[in-house]
Symmetry: C2
Subunit: 374 residues, 2 copies
DNA sequence: TTGAAAGCGCTAACAA
DNA sequence: TTGTTAGCGCTTTCAA
């Protein structure tokens, strides 16, 4: 049967073999504490404050001699400032929170990697949280946790949900209440420093659908994702606009709401075929893979019998028996942007601007969508 | 051309359109500080320490009355304890570090999700670091950063490298020097509390190869990964043992070292075909996908002309035109184990044991490996 | 040019 | 049952 990608059996209890338990020697002795600033001060016979100043980059009155001495002692003792103390006294930390849906999603994974890459070497650390549940309670609990983490900024990398306005406004209030810069994907309407990093899903849906229309298709199925996501609605809107431009009436029956999983693509297939479509626009590649799978099952050929356009351009889109024509989402660029924006936001002391950037789609023409045979 | 999965253009400079910059009202005013324990104390007219005790779960002498009063005040002020202060005074934090290679790797992503899931609701937060570089310097810098993060435990989720023994022992020294429990994937030989969470790659290689041998194949190509990974060598060792069991001599020329990327699988194909193999054991699914791609290119059919077995069981393995026979790695179970182990390690005060667990492979027989035609 | 001391938010030992 | 105080590691102001 089709592998359930979106429902990996998280808590399945398999029994690995436990092959060894041993005492670790290093832990049995007295655990040597990490060197503190005091140790360094003692080591080189100066005061704590002198060490602090000597080690800081800021211009100060410490003599080059002392400075050198301190640096050496610090290195000798393998001294690293304690971030908790720093964060306490500076009232801001070098931690950045990021909230994601599911890193198994290749788009999120690429974005996350890119953020990490921008941040590496800057001294900022990313505290990552996975928020899969859609309950209000889970969201609030998470925000409370983030609040206590003293993060300096937050990246809310979850798609905007539009079905529960009240919860959304609660979320907004709570997130804004953190008093830190917040970067969101999609436009949550937040009113705090930060940025909305958006992708033009509507244009993506438009390009995909227009491509199919240009190839002569008129009955085009729209395989949508969960209805409550803003980005789902936007893709459908793009689909609709393309149809309109070609004078093809929009038919609700040709829209199938899945959940962005391969399984739902698989299930959508027979429904859409029942609607006698000659082409399908799938709102992500994964559902398109479900279509491939189902098509093979029913002995229906892609693209001979049915054309298919996906969305996302996941790495595997290109290796199917018929490479998938799809819409590219520049996840890496978006992630890099987020990383750079964070650094900028945390660097400047007075920055109350909120930017909104819009990334644009590319249509990647490969083999899965062809001219309609008459 | 084949999409370069492992070399996503991280820093490519595309220009998104910047569509809006606006002042955020909330930031223009005075930023209200988060409530501290003092505020709560003042709010309900008790001392700071009373608040501290009232809010803690530990049994204390605070009356139920006061406790209730304090709780209400805390809720009213939206009070959350400052973790920096907590961590400073307790000398341990609720942060756990995790070091990964690349979350775009589905195995890592699933593992990461599972760790997150176990930790969610426990109050622990995961600080994630991506370490892609193999230079000693990058590793040391990262460990320094982690040291300053005051994490309570560390998950080193990077495959063991065996080519640079000196660097490894430096790494060991530095990581052990952190004085915290460390969980590693593979057995790094660490001598500190924690666990080695291993997978029996050798047995995996053995099962895959034996399967091909049982199907009558005798010239079996081994598509290996980077030579410097322990897990690469283990798979080859399993391959070798299976051959031995069937009395087939091991031939070095049939082993191709790729780098676990689709591209390297693609490139391996013509080499291995040149060696007139009738089957290929690929050390991961991704390289196997490269094989699919190349085979299609050269008009060679899987499994009719060549049998193929992969490794990992990534979600897409099942949706190829010929579903990929592969070795399942229980990433989710391993991640859950790590999560639970962390909770246990951080809960008990006196735990100096180091466990080693071994997860075992399953062979998933699908369509890509069949009996050899004579 | 340097040291001493206060204080960041919190806990825990000690007083009351 | 509660309040006072010292101190976690660090920065910064003030005094020397």
């Amino acid at each position: 049967m089709l592998q359930k990608y979106n429902s990996l059996p998280y808590n399945q209890d398999t029994a690995p073999c436990l092959c060894r338990v041993r005492q670790s020697a290093s832990a049995k002795g007295v655990r040597k504490m990490r060197a503190t600033i005091k140790d360094v001060a003692k080591e080189c016979g100066v005061s704590v404050s002198a060490v602090s100043m000597a080690l800081s980059d800021k211009p100060s009155r410490i003599s080059e001699d002392t400075r050198q001495k301190v640096r050496e002692a610090a290195a000798r003792l393998n001294y690293h400032p304690n971030r908790a103390a720093l964060s306490l006294v500076n009232r801001k930390s070098r931690m950045i929170g990021i909230v994601m849906n599911d890193v198994r999603n290749t788009h999120i994974a690429a974005l996350f990697m890119a953020v990490n890459r921008e941040l590496s070497g800057t001294g900022y650390s990313l505290i990552s949280h996975i928020l899969e549940e859609r309950t209000q309670d889970a969201g609030l609990k998470l925000i409370n946790q983030i609040a206590s983490e003293n993060v300096a900024a937050l990246v809310w990398a979850r798609p905007l949900e539009t079905d529960k306005q009240e919860e959304l406004s609660n979320l907004r209030k709570n997130v804004e209440g953190l008093g830190i810069p917040v970067i969101t994907m999609d436009d949550y309407g937040f009113d705090c420093p930060g940025a909305d990093v958006c992708f033009d899903y509507r244009q993506g849906g438009f390009l995909a659908t227009r491509h199919l229309l240009e190839l002569g298709h008129r009955r085009i199925g729209c395989l949508a994702g969960d209805q409550f996501y803003y980005v789902t609605q936007e893709r459908i809107e793009g689909y609709r606009q393309a149809l309109e431009e070609f004078g093809v009436p929009y038919d609700e029956k040709l829209v199938y709401y899945g959940d962005y999983s391969m399984d739902s693509g698989y299930e959508a297939f027979s429904y859409l075929m029942g609607q006698r479509v000659s082409a399908i626009f799938s709102s992500n590649d994964e559902m398109a893979f479900g279509i491939y799978r189902a098509a093979r099952n029913y002995r229906i050929r892609i693209p001979k019998d049915i054309s298919l356009v996906g969305f996302d351009n996941v790495p595997f889109a290109d290796i199917m028996e018929t490479p998938l024509t799809t819409v590219r989402v520049p996840s890496v660029e978006m992630g890099s942007f987020i990383g750079r924006a964070l650094i900028e936001l945390l660097g400047e002391s007075e920055n109350t601007e909120r930017k909104k950037v819009f990334y644009k789609p590319d249509l990647l023409r490969r083999g899965s969508a062809v001219e309609r045979e008459l």
